[in-house]
Symmetry: C3
Subunit: 346 residues, 3 copies
C-alpha cells in the first residue's frame, strides 16, 4: 500500500521547526542520494553531510547546526529542524507504518485452536491455525500470527505482536509492546546433562523464560528456559536474528545484540550493553553495564569495566594469512628467541 | 503446576543414604545459595563447597566426602548421601518433571492431517495441526507436537517426543526416546552443486537422515540429508540449539555439541566427543573418539588423537586488541627480523 | 521409492560417450569405493583417482583423460565419458530425483487457508495448513509446502518450491525455479533502532525482499526486509542453512554461501563470490565480483580485488594454544622489543 503525506501531516504528528510549503506531498522516505521532490530525507551521520547540498529531496530533516545549509539547498524544498534527526526519522517510519499497514482485526480465526481455559482479550487478533494452550492469557490488542503456538499457562502482554510461526513454551511470559519475529522459539529446554558411564543423563529444565516490556526478538532466535530458575530478558532488550540465549542467562535493560550471537548458560549481561554480530559469550560470565563487544569476538572471561572489547583475527589475502598463521603457531617460541637475544644484548 | 514432595517420596524413588525426617516437604529444587527450608539443594562442583555450611536448604544432596560436613550444618535439615550428587540431581529433576508436567493424551487431534497410509500407534499423541505423511510410522507412546510435519515414509521411534513445529523430511528416521525441540529441521537438502559456466547446477540429495536412540536435538538445529548415503547421528548424541550438521556427516555415540556449532559436509566425528559453542568443523575431516573442541574454535584439519583442542583469538580492550592485531598482520616479517638478529648474534 | 535404470535410460537422457551393455541395470548412484555392479559411480576429484582401478562399480562416469583407464578396469562394466563428470553426476541425481520422488498434485489442500483475493495458479500445489495472504500470487507449477505462510501481496514465481514451514513476509517476491527449505524466514524486520535516552526507538522497516530466479535458500536461513529500499538476492544465488542476511544487503548473481554465515546490513556482495561456513561480513562493506572468503573469516573492511581471503586463528592442542594466545596478548610489546634489539644491532 502506498500513501502520500503532506508536510503538514508530518509535522502535525512529529513536530519540528519547519520551513516550506505545508501542502507539499511526499510518497517515500529515502536517503539523501537518489532522493526526488517527493522524498523525505534526513541527515544524521556526518559522513553523509556532503550529500546535503546536492540532494534533490523535497524535504530534509536536519539538526540545528545544518539548518542554514539545508535551507540554502539549490533544490529548494522543505526543511525540518530537530535536535535528533535520526530519532525523528525513526518516528517518521513509525508514522509511515501505521498509515500503510493494515491493522489485524480483533478476533480469533476460525481455523485457530484455542483451549477452552485460555483467556484471549476481545481486542486481540489470533491468526489462522494459531494454537493457544490451556491457561494461557493473551492481552489487550495483542497480535498472534498465523501458526504461532502458545503453550500452557503462557502470558502474552498487551499490544505485543507475535509474527507467524513463533513458539512460546509452557509457562513462559512475554511483556507488553514486544515484537517476536517468525521462527522465534521461547522456552525450549536448556542444554543440561549429567555425565554418567560415558553417556548423558538429562537434567529436566524446570524454569521458564521471562521477557520484559518493549523487547524485540529477531527471526529464528532461541531463548532457552532455565534449569531451575528463569532465563530473563529485561525491558527494552533488542535481539536480532539467529541468536542463541542459553538457560539462566540474564540480559539487562536496553541491551542490544546483533545477529548470530551465542550466549552460553548462566551468563549475566548488564544493562545498556551491545554485542556485535557473531560474538560468543561463554557461560557463567558477568558483563558489567555498558560493555560493548565487537562483532565476532569470543568473550572467555567476565568484563567488569564498561568499554569496547574486541578479539578478531585480522583477515588478509590467503597467502599472507597462511604465512602469519603458520608463524603464530610458534609465537611462544618466537618470544623465547627474543628473550634470548635480549640477554645477549644486555 | 506446583508440587510438594516429602523426603520419603524422593528417596523411595531415587535411593541414597538419608538422614532426616521422612515427612519433611519440599516444593523446589534450587542452588545452595538462596535455598530455604522447602528447597532440595545439591553440592557437586567443589567451587561451591563453601556455600554448604551456610545454606538454609531443607535438604542437601552430597557425596560421601561431604556427608559429615552436611550433617553438621547449622541450619539442620536432611542430607542425602550418594556417590554422584549431580547425577542424583539430574534424576530428581526428572522425577519433578514427571510429577508436574501433564501427560499428553493418546490420540490424534481433530485438526491434524494424517495420511491414510500412515501408521500411528494408538498410544501416541498427535497435536493440533500436525501433519503426517504417507507411509510414516509413529511408535508407541510417541508425542508429535502441534504443527509438526512428518514427511513421507518417516519413522519415529517409541517414546520419542517432537516439540511443536518440528520438520522431519521424507524418508528420515528417528530412534526411540529422542527429544527434538521446536524449529528443528531434519532432512533438508545438503548443500551440493556442480559449478558450470559461472553458475551452480543442483546435485539432488538422494540420501536421508538416520538418528539413533536417546538423541536430543535443540531448537532450530538443522540436520541435512545425505547426498547419496545418509547423514547419521548415533545413539545418545546431544545437540544444542542453532547447530548446522551438513550432509553425510557422521556423529558417534554420546557426542555432545553446544549451541551455534557448524559441521560441514562429510565430517566424521567420533564417539564421546564434545564441541564447544560456536565452533566450526570443516568438511571431510575426521575427529577421533574423545576429542574435545573448545568453544569458537575452527577445526581445519583432522584430529586423530583424543584431547582438548582450541584456537580462539584472545579478546582485549579494543585499543590493545587493535595494536596486537595490527602487529599480527606482519608477524611473518617479525619472525624474519628475529632470525636476522639471531644471525648477527651468533 | 527405489528404481532401477538401464544404461540406455541414462544415456538417452544425459548423453555421453558410452561403452557397455545398454541393458545393464543400476539401482544406486554412489562413490567409487564401496560400489557394486548395480552402482553408477563417477570420478571428478583427482584425489580419488587411485580408487578407479579397484572400483567394482557397474558403470563409471569419467573425463576423456581417464577413459582408457576406466575401460581397462578389472571389474569390467560400463564407462560414460563426458567433459565434466561432476556436472554429469549432478544431472544424473536430478534424473534420479525426478523418477523416484512423487510429484505433488495440483490443487489446494482442504485445510489450507487461502485469502479470497490471492491468485493461485491452477497447476500449483498448496499443502496442508498452508496460509496464503491477500493479494498474493502463486505461479504456475509452484509448490507451497505444508504450513508455509505466504504474506500479503507476495509473489511466488513459477516452478518455485517452498518446503513445509517457510515464511515469506508481506510484499516480498521470489522468482522462478527457486527452492526455499523448511524454516526459512523471508522478510522479518531488519535490525534498526535509533538510540534515545538510553533506550532504542524502532525504525520501522519499510522495504521488502526481492529474490531472483534459480535461488536456493537453506533451512532456517533468514533474509531481512530492507529499511527503506529492498534487500536483494540476484539470480542463481545459493545459500546454505542458518544464514543471516541483514537488511538492505545486495548479493550478486551466482554467489554461494555455506552454513552459519552472517552478513550485516547494507553489505554489497558481488557476483560469483563464495563465502565459507561461519564467516561474518560486517555491514556497509563492498565485496567485488569473484571474492572468495574462507570459512570462519571475519570481513571487517571492503574487498575490492577478486581472490581468496582468510583470517582464522589456527587451532592447536589446548596447551600449545594457551601459550601462543598468552604471547599474542603482548605481541605489540614483542615487536617493540625486536625494534629495540635492531637498534642495538645496527
Amino acid at each position: 500500500m502506498t500513501i502520500s503525506l503532506t508536510l503538514a501531516d508530518i509535522t502535525a504528528q512529529l513536530g519540528g521547526d519547519v520551513t516550506g510549503d505545508p501542502t507539499m506531498r511526499f510518497d517515500r522516505i529515502g536517503p539523501l542520494s537518489g532522493a526526488t521532490a517527493s522524498t523525505v530525507s534526513f541527515l544524521s551521520n556526518p559522513r553523509y553531510r556532503s550529500q546535503l547540498a546536492e540532494s534533490a529531496a523535497g524535504c530534509v530533516i536536519v539538526a540545528p547546526a545544518q539548518a542554514d545549509e539545508a535551507r540554502a539547498r539549490p533544490a529548494g524544498g522543505a526543511v525540518i529542524v530537530t535536535p535528533d534527526p535520526y530519532l525523528y526519522f525513526a518516528r517518521l517510519t513509525q508514522l509511515w507504518a501505521r498509515l500503510t499497514r493494515p491493522r489485524e482485526a480483533a478476533g480469533v480465526h476460525a481455523s485457530a485452536v484455542v483451549d477452552a481455559t485460555a483467556q484471549v482479550h476481545a481486542s486481540a487478533h489470533v491468526g489462522p491455525m494459531a494454537c493457544i494452550g490451556p491457561g494461557a492469557v493473551v492481552g489487550e490488542g495483542a497480535v498472534i500470527g498465523a501458526q504461532t503456538v502458545i503453550g500452557r499457562d503462557v502470558r502474552i502482554g498487551s499490544q505485543t505482536r507475535l509474527a507467524p510461526r513463533v513458539v512460546v513454551g509452557d509457562g513462559c511470559s512475554v511483556g507488553d509492546r514486544c515484537i517476536l519475529h517468525s521462527g522465534v522459539v521461547i522456552g525450549a529446554d536448556g542444554f543440561g546433562f549429567a555425565p554418567t558411564e560415558g553417556r548423558w543423563e538429562k537434567i529436566e529444565q524446570l524454569g521458564a523464560v521471562r521477557i520484559g516490556h518493549d523487547v524485540e526478538i529477531g527471526a529464528n532466535t532461541c531463548i532457552d528456559r532455565g534449569a531451575l530458575d528463569d532465563t530473563v530478558l529485561e525491558d527494552g532488550v533488542k535481539l536480532d536474528n539467529l541468536i542463541q540465549i542459553g538457560h539462566n542467562v540474564h540480559v539487562g535493560r536496553h541491551t542490544a545484540m546483533a545477529g548470530c550471537v551465542g550466549v552460553a548458560g548462566s551468563a549475566r549481561i548488564g544493562a545498556g550493553c551491545t554485542v556485535g554480530g557473531g560474538a560468543i559469550i561463554l557461560g557463567h560470565l558477568q558483563l558489567a553495564d555498558g560493555v560493548h563487544v565487537s562483532a565476532a569476538t569470543v568473550v572467555t572471561r567476565s568484563i567488569l569495566k564498561p568499554g569496547q572489547y574486541s578479539g578478531v583475527f585480522p583477515f588478509d589475502d590467503n597467502a599472507a594469512w597462511e604465512k602469519n598463521a603458520a608463524t603464530l603457531r610458534h609465537l611462544h617460541t618466537l618470544r623465547d628467541r627474543v628473550r634470548a637475544l635480549e640477554k645477549k644484548n644486555v
